[in-house]
């Protein structure tokens, strides 16, 4: 047996303690501050503008810049000579707004390309949030694809943001192919048969976001076959929220946990993520509950949830508005459910796959005033006035209904603070003299201190000595961090809890000993949204090894002496051209001079990483690139001066090397996928917590959604092309570079439907795979499938040569018992057919 790493075991004990406190206790605490939704962000910005512009007046602006051909698939570049409008001329839901049309073109490789836009005075463009019409360039928003047998050439749902959810537009569009008999679009208002343009092109415009509309189109081809394309459809069983916005979903199935009864099912309810509820960490969750559906026709929870509920239970409600939920699961012998006591009686739908049901009421509704009546198929009627037959998840013990909590409102975000990195030790706080860059500009100021770091809840014990610093510029006597297109952030005096990022950078003394330095190289851009941003100057900041002297910065021209302050911190402003240089520190310590390459700086990020695959940025900014260096350095980011770099737009900075890593650990189903996909959301404004990002120029001009979704893939050599279908569009990409890489970048985040990929192999076969994301859930599996999973896991562990005997034992010890429970469930279902819901 291999030797154990003591410090890893000690960390394990700490994590275990924290897990028991967090997952087992009932201590109440409000959740993290909720960030403003897209709608709120836009409202903030546009309230004043709207007040000033009582009447909508559309002016004309400069055409939007086109993407560079080098960033597009070479075969997918529309040919200017083939461009024409489809002439669909569809009215906007708002009277007087420019009408919508589809621009069609052909690429050099024969693909059909489309772009969605508005037509004003004979020109094809888009009206921005600033009410300025700008001509759309060819290739900018065009999507290209080949005709697919049995389906449309292209179909998508482009979303354009608005000043409110109802001002947003979802434009369902596509090219169904010549000879198409009909295209019918289904949305909230019902069915619309769409007029067809050239090549069976079609377009329908809806108010709102695609998740709200959930449109689908039914295409009848020239041969009479029918094809349905759905957008943002969810397979979940959903119920509306009483205040509108994101719906709720209930999910569940057979309970196959240890100790479960063979007829036991579990369900759980939570709010769906969408544009109005975009962050997983903030989502309200109701507890998972279970019940025996052979002995009772249903189990139900009828409960009011208020902000702060469920903290420590694994199902925190968070700082979300109070709601009264009625949810559970019903056996197939329940033919209908009726809820009374909150307005008119209502029928609750039962999900016939799993038996779940759900109603979400305003939090003011007292659950004790409600009645749920079940009509059984034999004619019997059972009425429930409180939670019934529910067992707690895992323990399978009857749930004791807690007293109904008093209604309360969420805590205002401004009142929620996060802990500081620690109060400075008396006498250690220093603020250095301003440092001016070689090209002038604002002088930068370094502030540093030492503090004792103690984890929260721990007031005794020695704590950990740490060295901290922050830097910014002085404005009106205060240290502030400049931002792009927004007011600077005041950097508060260290030690004060705040609901905003304080940009404190701390490292423990432990890290800074052993001759280790920690420094970063960040360069400021003239316009972080530009395609080729100009680098103004470069800031190198960090901490020298403790006690070192004669510190030199090596790698940015001649060696530069660094002025290291009393807390071993330093800051130097260099010309922008050094932004991608490989730097390290040389210094004297204990009488010896050291010049080891920087261990904490940029040396590990693979400087000089050149993109093998590239994609245009949806907002017209620096393009995106994906590269693989060897087998362990896959990274993607923005392409700046031909290198892969990380741009933080809100801060206006660029750093060399990939901003994100795609380590080949992407989520995948399938035994040996032809393409290793990874889907990552890129949230806006990461790193400046608590601050609402201002709208970017592109979001105003192009009405693109905030954030991005990046799909990367590493393909096997026999992959010819990959067609990625997302709620937004269908794109066909060809792997490029020696490592056969692909990258696709989309505006916004796909909250619901997961993209899929159809992979064309060089022997003519096609393989379809889901592209699961960072936040995706696997589809529910039947007990038979789960039994196969258990066997597969057992085999994989037993045949993994890298596992030690102890690891093997640890990984497989629970599997036989698990398999036994699943077999019991399967046997029960087979001997009591029709008694339990079908998963």
């Amino acid at each position: 047996m291999s030797e154990r790493i003591r410090v890893l075991d000690e960390l394990g004990i700490e994590l275990d303690r924290a897990a028991r406190r967090r997952l087992a206790s009932r201590r109440r605490r409000v959740g993290a501050p909720r960030r403003l939704s897209l709608a709120a962000m836009i409202v903030v910005l546009l309230v004043l503008a709207a007040a000033a512009a009582a009447a909508v007046f559309i002016s004309s602006g400069s055409p939007l810049p086109a993407p560079r051909a080098q960033d597009l698939e070479s075969g997918g570049i529309p040919l200017p000579s083939t461009v024409h409008l489809a002439g669909l001329d569809v009215a906007d839901p708002e009277a007087g707004a420019p009408r919508w049309d589809l621009r069609l073109s052909r690429s050099s490789s024969g693909e059909t390309c489309t772009a969605v836009g508005q037509v004003l005075d004979g020109q094809f463009g888009i009206v921005g949030l600033d009410h300025v019409f700008r001509v759309l360039p060819l290739g900018g928003v065009d999507v290209c694809g080949f005709a697919a047998p049995g389906g449309p050439v292209l179909a998508g749902a482009r979303v354009f943001s608005g000043s409110s959810p109802m001002e947003a537009r979802t434009v369902v569009n596509g090219v169904a192919g010549a000879g198409t008999r009909s295209v019918t679009a289904y949305g909230p208002e019902g069915a619309r048969e769409l007029p067809l343009g050239p090549d069976g092109s079609f377009l329908a415009v809806y108010r709102g976001y695609v998740e709200d509309i959930r449109p689908r189109v039914v295409i009848v081809t020239g041969r009479g076959t029918t094809r349905t394309v759905s957008f943002a459809q969810s397979s979940a069983f959903e119920a509306p929220d009483p205040q509108g916005g994101a719906p709720w979903q209930i999910s569940g199935g057979p309970d196959i946990e240890p100790g479960a009864y063979p007829d036991e099912n579990c369900v759980q309810a939570n709010r769906v993520m969408d544009h109005s509820n975009p962050f997983f960490g903030d989502t309200a969750e109701a507890p998972e509950i279970c019940g025996r559906l052979a002995t009772s026709p249903l189990f139900v929870m009828m409960r009011r949830f208020v902000p702060g509920d469920g903290e420590g239970s694994g199902f925190p409600w968070g700082n979300n508005p109070a709601r009264t939920l009625i949810y559970g699961a019903a056996a197939p012998r329940v033919s209908s459910l009726t809820l009374t006591g909150a307005g008119p009686a209502r029928t609750l739908q039962i999900d016939r796959r799993g038996g779940g049901f759900l109603a979400v009421l305003d939090g003011h509704v007292d659950p004790q005033s409600l009645s749920l009546t079940a009509h059984l198929s034999g004619g019997a009627v059972v009425t429930y006035t409180r939670s019934a037959n529910a067992l707690a998840w895992r323990t399978n013990q009857p749930i004791v209904q807690p007293p109904v909590p008093a209604y309360r409102e969420p805590v205002p975000a401004a009142q929620i603070t996060t802990p500081s990195e620690g109060t400075p030790i008396t006498g250690t706080l220093t603020q250095d003299a301003p440092v001016r860059g070689p090209a002038g500009g604002q002088p930068w100021v370094l502030r540093s201190w030492r503090s004792i770091y103690r984890s929260s809840g721990s007031v005794s014990g020695p704590g950990v000595l740490q060295y901290c610093f922050q830097f910014g510029v002085i404005e009106n006597g205060a240290l502030v961090l400049p931002r792009t297109g927004a007011a600077p952030i005041t950097l508060n005096t260290p030690g004060h809890p705040t609901n905003e990022s304080n940009e404190e950078r701390c490292n423990s003394a432990q890290i800074l000993t052993h001759r280790t330095s920690q420094f970063s190289v960040e360069s400021y851009l003239a316009d972080p949204y530009a395609y080729s941003p100009t680098i103004l100057y470069t800031i190198v900041s960090g901490q020298a090894p403790l006690g070192s002297t004669h510190v030199l910065l090596i790698g940015a021209g001649a060696p530069r002496p660094l002025a290291v302050d009393a807390n071993d911190a330093f800051l130097i402003v260099l010309p922008g051209r050094y932004w991608a240089n490989r730097m390290h520190l040389a210094y004297t310590l204990d009488g010896r001079t050291h010049g080891i390459p920087g261990r904490g700086g940029i040396s590990q990020r693979g400087p000089g990483l050149r993109p093998e695959a590239r994609a245009p940025d949806p907002d017209g900014g620096a393009p995106w690139g994906f590269a693989e260096r060897g087998s362990s350095f896959n990274g993607f980011g923005r392409i700046v001066e031909g290198r892969i770099a990380g741009i933080e737009e809100a801060r206006g900075t660029v750093t060399d090397g990939p901003g994100n890593f795609s380590e080949g650990t992407g989520l995948r189903l399938g035994v040996s996928p032809q393409v290793q996909f990874q889907q990552q959301p890129e949230e806006e404004n990461e790193g400046i917590a608590g601050h609402v990002a201002p709208l970017t120029r592109a979001q105003i001009q192009r009405r693109t959604l905030p954030g991005r979704t990046i799909i990367t893939g590493i393909a096997e050599p026999d992959v010819v092309s990959v067609t990625i279908t997302t709620p937004e569009d269908v794109r066909t990409l060809r792997p490029s570079g020696v490592h056969h890489l692909i990258i696709a970048v989309y505006a916004g985040v796909f909250h619901q439907a997961s993209p899929t990929a159809t992979i064309l192999l060089n022997d003519g076969r096609t393989v379809t795979e889901p592209i699961l994301g960072f936040e995706s859930r696997l589809p529910s599996r039947t007990p038979e499938q789960q039994l196969q999973d258990v066997h597969r896991q057992q085999t994989a562990v037993e045949h993994d040569p890298q596992l030690t005997l102890a690891q093997r034992r640890s990984l497989t010890e629970g599997l036989p018992a698990w398999a036994r429970i699943i077999r019991l469930r399967i046997a029960f279902e087979r001997s009591h057919r029709g008694l339990l819901p079908v998963p």
Binding site: V7, T418, Y453, G542, E775
Partner: protein, 180 residues
């Protein structure tokens, strides 16, 4: 098994792999240990999501978070401990034995030995050229002047030396990926 047990099992199963993954990238055990602690703290605060995932997804989720933490560390030159602090987790200190063991598991020793071996196999001219260019970051004209050769010859020596080192490192990178 309750949630806390399940979380601890995840740590038992993946903790070392995450630590090795981060050590190979940061080349610093203490930094990697703090990043590992923060990664699992994030996992703990996201447990209601993780608990619903299959093992393979959990693992992928964990390594994606670790890679993101690493990227953030590179950008800020500091290890964030926001969630570690909030959850009241004290990060233990790594002793000399621990550091040696973790470096061994991460293959850093082998990596250093391999680089040293490969360096020793280079000609003295190549070694000198690499030192001037890579360690001292001298421009090629200075490297050439110091070595008394043309700039083209200096470039060729550095280039050949770097290629030899890259060939040496490649199998170790591959092995690290396999173990993580």
């Amino acid at each position: 098994m309750d949630d806390a047990d399940a979380f601890s099992e995840l740590y038992q199963r993946e903790g070392e792999a995450v630590l090795v993954f981060l050590t190979r990238r940061t080349l610093d055990v203490e930094v990697a240990l703090e990043l590992t602690a923060e990664t699992f703290a994030i996992a703990l605060t996201s447990w209601r999501k993780l608990s619903g995932l299959a093992d393979e997804q959990r693992r992928a989720w964990l390594f994606t978070v670790a890679a993101r933490r690493f990227g953030r560390y590179l950008r800020r030159a500091s290890v964030e401990r926001r969630l570690v602090a909030r959850l009241g987790i004290a990060i233990p200190c790594a002793g000399a034995d621990d550091i040696a063991l973790i470096e061994q598991r991460a293959g850093l020793g082998e990596l250093r030995t391999a680089v040293g071996r490969e360096l020793s196999l280079l000609s003295s001219e190549q070694q000198r050229a690499l030192h001037l260019r890579v360690v001292e970051e001298r421009p090629y004209d200075e490297v050439a002047a110091t070595l008394g050769v043309s700039e083209q010859a200096a470039r060729a020596r550095v280039s050949r030396g770097l290629r030899a080192l890259a060939r040496t490192l490649e199998p170790y990178r591959a092995a690290g990926e396999g173990s993580s």
